[in-house]
């Protein structure tokens, strides 16, 4: 290990000091054999030599010192007395450790065996070291071939969980990284604000996890909190069962198995002929979160099994080819239906007509299911595009005289067809960049102590409503200093600004910034990364870069699953309604007249001590009328930058079916589309990233 080599020298030096200390302590102990402080000091010196020795690769030193330490542990615990011969033996052992440290391993063998035997004689008969020096490294199970199992994990922390510094988020994240997961948080125990103690954990979680790891690996995640948190892990799908997904347990059965309800309770509910989950919630038998968790489990197992079925009999799953336009038309129609349904729902809510309400609710459910299944038809595995990149990398390797492997992961991740089509060019560009600028020539790699063959890894995975696509190379990494210098040269950064590396890396997305020392035929003309960023923005995604000098660069793109329907935040300005994409919205805060006066004409709000620039949609879109005394700021976050949009009122979340604007309006700045509200009015969809960009350029231009 290279890292360790750097400090091995200082270990030897330090161990030498420790040995000198040990010698002095042993000699003192000889004349004062009952002094327990001296025993403890000797023990500590041995303990340090052993512990560090093992870490720095001095295995023999560690295992030999361990023998000596075990004897002193006995003395420390009062089971053995210090005697003259024991001190003599310990001093001899100390000298031997010194020889071992000097690298004299071979010639000490006989002495070592003799001393070990003599030391062991001091231990009780069963006094073999009680604990192994080193834990057996767990053999990694062959994850590639392991089937994907689905687990149900209950995490029920004690209220005192936070008191020992535990942040459960880290644990949940670790779990989520193990595979495909669905998490439901139980929030019912959270008391009102005035009664809540911020140091008490009121939350608990149900996680449905589909992973190739086993239950022990899941349990290991919670190893630090085993005393403060009850964790139950149930296997709900073994990854092998060939049962059909649709045959998986009914909701009621799952709830009984989870221990949430009793059989009698279920039977009573079933007699009422409604949807079980709804009924049980109404009866107060279970919380809505519990039902949600059970439904997710059902879904996870069904999906896992369906996937297996599909793999097991690829040709048996009959499929038909349909023209893409027909599908697009179907999605449009479903969009219309969702809008019509919203109107029906609003209408039903205003009329006191139970029958109408019931029809509206059925429609609501059906249209939601229809919407989901229609959108899923348009989903295509991203792997279909991976093939062309293999070829690209192969050709580039030849052209550039480099050895590069392309690894792909998550080819089965599904994305809307339109998104995939529009992703092709940016991906080609990024992979080219990685091959051309990222991966070094074989000689340079060898010189840097890396394998001559470089790797570019292309991975796709899902989280919530987003798909992440990562391009990671193990090349040279970005040169922050070069980027900074270039940015200063181009006037994008003032000469004395020294932003942190992460901020500097973001600059590569600005137009006209290329740091490659020489141009090649492949890339490096300073056009590109800004185009990539714009394409990703247009897909309502975001892009970020991580890099470490000498280790490599990762470009990560976050994309919405679909372009047709989004979750939006509905707001009003005067008589007009606007929708902001929910995925970008972070929070809403009030903006009072007093706040405005405080900022002296600067469009900046102070939110919990942080400055957030804002823009009044009223001014931008020229909406007539007066501002209300208290306005709302909707704070959106784009690429880690927080920006506020001031509106009159926030209405709430809204399923937004996106309608493209007619070509007359297509060039309108700050709008990305429109949608139709339940009452038939039109709401405009705000292009959050574009607005932020144009205001910041305007601000720069102004000075």
């Amino acid at each position: 290990m290279k890292l360790i080599d750097q400090v091995a020298g200082s270990f030897i030096e330090e161990a030498g000091e420790r040995l000198a200390e040990l010698e002095a302590v042993l000699l003192e102990l000889e004349s004062d054999p009952t002094n327990m402080d001296l025993v403890a000091q000797a023990f500590r010196a041995m303990h340090t030599i052993k512990g560090s020795g093992a870490m720095f690769g001095f295995e023999t030193v560690a295992s030999f010192t361990h023998q000596l330490e075990t004897v002193f542990d006995e003395i420390r615990n009062g089971r053995l007395a210090v005697t003259q011969p024991l001190i003599g033996l310990s001093l001899e052992a100390r000298d031997l450790i010194r020889r071992l440290l000097a690298g004299d391993e071979a010639s000490t063998r006989l002495d070592r065996d003799r001393l070990c035997k003599a030391l062991r004689a001091y231990l009780p008969k069963d006094g073999q070291p009680k604990t192994p020096l080193k834990e057996e490294p767990k053999l990694p199970s062959d994850e590639k071939s392991a089937p994907e199992k689905t687990f149900r994990v209950f995490v029920r922390p004690d209220p005192e969980l936070f008191r020992n510094g535990t942040n459960p988020m880290g644990l949940l994240n670790e779990l989520v990284e193990m595979g495909h997961s669905r998490v439901v948080a139980h929030t019912r125990s959270i008391p009102g604000l005035s009664d809540a103690d911020p140091e008490v954990c009121y939350l608990s979680w149900d996680i449905i996890l589909t992973t190739t790891k086993d239950a022990d690996a899941i349990r290991d995640v919670f190893i630090f909190v085993e005393d403060h948190c009850s964790v139950r892990i149930d296997l709900v799908d073994d990854g092998i069962s060939q049962e059909s997904g649709e045959d998986y347990k009914k909701l009621g059965e799952i709830l009984i198995e989870r221990g949430d309800i009793t059989t009698t309770c279920l039977k009573e509910s079933l007699a009422e002929q409604k949807r079980v989950g709804q009924l049980l919630i109404e009866k107060g038998a279970v919380s809505s979160e519990t039902v949600e968790a059970a439904v997710l489990e059902q879904k996870a197992v069904r999906e896992a099994r369906a996937k297996r079925e599909a793999q097991a009999q690829p040709e048996a799953g009959s499929s038909i080819r349909v023209a893409a336009e027909k599908l697009d038309y179907l999605v449009d129609l479903v969009g219309e239906l969702v809008i019509a349904q919203a109107r029906l729902g609003q209408l039903a809510a205003t009329r006191d007509d139970a029958e109408l309400v019931s029809v509206a609710e059925t429609m609501d459910r059906l249209s939601a299911e229809l919407r989901d299944s229609t959108l899923s038809i348009r989903m295509v595995p991203i792997g279909t595009t991976f093939g062309r990149f293999k070829r690209l990398v192969r050709d580039l390797s030849g052209e550039l005289g480099k050895e590069i492997d392309l690894q792909t992961d998550g080819a089965e991740t599904e994305l809307d067809k339109t998104v995939i089509e529009r992703l092709g060019d940016p991906l080609v560009h990024l992979i080219r960049n990685s091959c051309d600028h990222g991966i070094e020539k074989p000689e340079a790699r060898r010189a840097a102590g890396k394998a001559a063959r470089g790797t570019v890894r292309l991975a796709a995975y899902h989280t919530g409503p987003n798909v992440f696509i990562e391009i990671r190379d193990d090349g040279a990494g970005l040169d922050a200093e070069a980027i900074r210098a270039k940015a200063v040269e181009r006037g994008l950064l003032s000469a004395d600004a020294i932003p942190p590396p992460a901020e500097i890396y973001k600059l590569i997305f600005l137009p006209g910034l290329s740091t490659a020392k020489s141009l090649s035929s492949v890339s490096g003309r300073g056009v590109g990364m800004d185009v990539v960023k714009r394409s990703i923005d247009a897909l309502r995604g975001s892009i970020e870069v991580e890099s470490s000098r000498g280790v490599g660069t990762t470009i990560r793109m976050r994309l919405p699953l679909t372009l047709a329907i989004i979750e939006g935040m509905l707001v009003t300005v005067g008589e007009s309604s606007y929708v902001l994409p929910m995925s970008l919205v972070e929070e809403c805060v009030e903006l009072t007249q007093a706040d405005v006066e405080k900022s002296h004409g600067n469009q900046i709000a102070i939110v919990r001590g942080e400055l957030v620039p804002y823009l009044r949609l009223r001014n931008w879109f020229g909406v007539a009328g007066d501002r209300p005394p208290i306005e709302q700021i909707v704070i959106a976050s784009v690429d880690g930058f927080r920006f506020g949009f001031v509106v009159d009122a926030v209405i709430g979340q809204h399923q937004t079916v996106i309608k493209t604007l007619g070509h007359m309006y297509r060039e309108t700045q700050g709008l990305s589309g429109a949608t139709i509200l339940g009452d038939g009015r039109v709401a405009l969809i705000v292009d959050v990233s574009a607005l932020i960009r144009s205001t910041s350029t305007a601000a720069q231009a102004a000075g």
Partner: protein, 121 residues
Amino acid sequence: MAKRILTVDDSASILQVEKLVLAGAGYEVVQANDGQDALGKLNGTPVHLVLTDLNMPRLDGVGLIRAIRASASHRLTPVVMITTESKDAKKQEGKAAGATGWIVKPFTPEQLLAVVKKVIG
């Protein structure tokens, strides 16, 4: 902003290796030579994590954990202790004192980073 970690050990070489590993992963590292020194460093400095050895002169690891849990400003700060044997009675003592997690020495850089990530992300 980089997360700040206070590493506490009476062995300079362990402190050095911890710093190499943690700083290499982008954390900011503050060092202390024993529990007493650590309490001094904590005074007035917010840290995201304390990584401490157990066997130390002056104030040992368990004593440090107790002192942290009793302090007004740092009582919720995560503390990871470094133990030598996984079954060590010391570990139980440390857990009872309020340790957030532990790592068994000898550890590899990867193991250290995995534990740190588990505790503070």
